[in-house]
């Protein structure tokens, strides 16, 4: 069965007809040519397909496009203002938060979403006082970013980048 859906991707409105079995990830990459979003495991285990969907960090491999009709998607390609980089992107550059770069768009989107959650006061698994203030220590950053794997092992740089962005 086909369905026609609307998605806004990095500020551009699209209307696209997809098979109902198509994931948001495949709709973005294969139908709309938005290749800033990356397919890693395709089973929700690696985080490389992370985008911001209606403002929340989101694994595009685990949702059907037809169920996200009308959604607003921001990929790593749409984070910056115009040609400029988003502060999280700049921090990844400054701290070598990558090696091959394949997981990086997902890492960056996840970091942006995570920083927003922290700003809203969301606790995490390692937060000692559930009712206390959110203090993004290194342990907190590691825990909150645990859904994004980097098989090059650039975690030291990723941690430094997110730490800097958190303090900005």
């Amino acid at each position: 069965m086909d369905a026609t859906i609307r998605l806004t991707v990095d500020g551009t409105a699209h209307e696209v007809t997809v098979d109902t079995r198509t994931t948001v990830l495949d709709a973005l990459r294969e139908r709309l040519g938005v290749t800033t979003v990356k397919k890693g495991c395709d089973h929700g285990q690696c985080g490389s397909c992370t985008v911001l969907l209606d403002g929340r960090r989101h694994l595009t491999c685990l949702t059907l496009a037809v169920a996200q009709d009308g959604a607003e998607v921001v990929t790593a390609g749409g984070l910056g203002e115009g040609e400029g980089l988003h502060p999280v992107q700049q921090a990844f550059l400054d701290h070598d938060g990558y090696q091959c770069g394949y997981c990086t768009p997902g890492q960056v989107c996840s970091a942006v979403g995570m920083l927003d959650e922290a700003k809203q006061g969301h606790p995490s698994h390692v937060t000692e006082d559930l009712e206390g203030d959110t203090d993004l220590t290194d342990d907190e950053i590691r825990e909150r970013m645990s859904g994004n794997l980097c098989r090059c092992g650039a975690y030291a740089g990723i941690l430094a980048a997110v730490r800097e962005a958190a303090q900005a």
Partner: protein
Amino acid sequence: MRELTYVRASSAQEAVEAVTADADAMFLGGGTNLVDHLKLGVARPGRLVDVSRLPLDEVETRETPDGPVLRVGAAVRNADLAAHPLVRSGLPALSRALLAGASGQIRQQASTAGNLLQRTRCVYFQDVTTPCNKREPGSGCSALEGYDRYNAVLGASEHCVAVHPSDMAVAMVALDAVVVVLGPEGERRLPVADLHRLPGDAPQRDTTLARDELVTAVELPLTDLAARSTYRKVRDRASYAFALVSVAAALRMDGDTVADVRIVWGGAAHKPWRAELAERALVGQALDEDTVAAAVDTELATARTSEGTAYKLPMLRGTTAHTLTTLATTEDA
């Protein structure tokens, strides 16, 4: 993947009717488990009835004759529930359990009802090339003689040794939560403790719900005991892994002795396992590692382990003792 018809329900009633009318239909919530199952071939529905946009996303307190309850809509996302101020202050075990589950992204997508209804991560259940009685009744259980490290140690059967994967459900049982369900005959309520079932000779059925019954809410009593609760999870790595074992506990002391206690285990059985024998053994006792270990052992008398799962018994004993003694020392904080 089979061809799929997709419909978005405009009301809970309409969703139930759509699934009742088509034996091949399933409800679709956040999708984090079901969409993966579509890809793996574990689930093969012909129709998906999307309930994710139904107006079931409120968290609100309600007064009842038995006291205040927190009513959580079925579509409330795991991340939002974990961060809700009333959950953090009044139901800390629930917040802790949610935060111990999955990853930041998945918690943003997954719903309350979907978390309850997620299916086992038994490796054979998810691998359609192997026999599995839960996935294909009558085909056999590959886990019995296979990779057994994650298997159940309580309440398993010769047909299935899978464990329930949810952290949240374990906490909800400890907090005496009630699930609100809409079916073709109307609404009913049942304790979360009675939602999941043991495998017996029908491991294909995870829960006591009919296939066309829709979870619409979960109600959690806001009691003094619930406010003195916590959740502790043991896993192979520090984050983003399923439980080897876990403990949800709530504790009220009367001086130096236990006045009231809840102990529920995850990673132990086909459902969250309420350790009622251990609870009963502890009431009126002093609380230390020895009394907890003795109480836990009364519960574990019926446990059955294999080479790969033998570690779970001392792990349950130690984790339960640690969780309860920590609760006792922080109770007045």
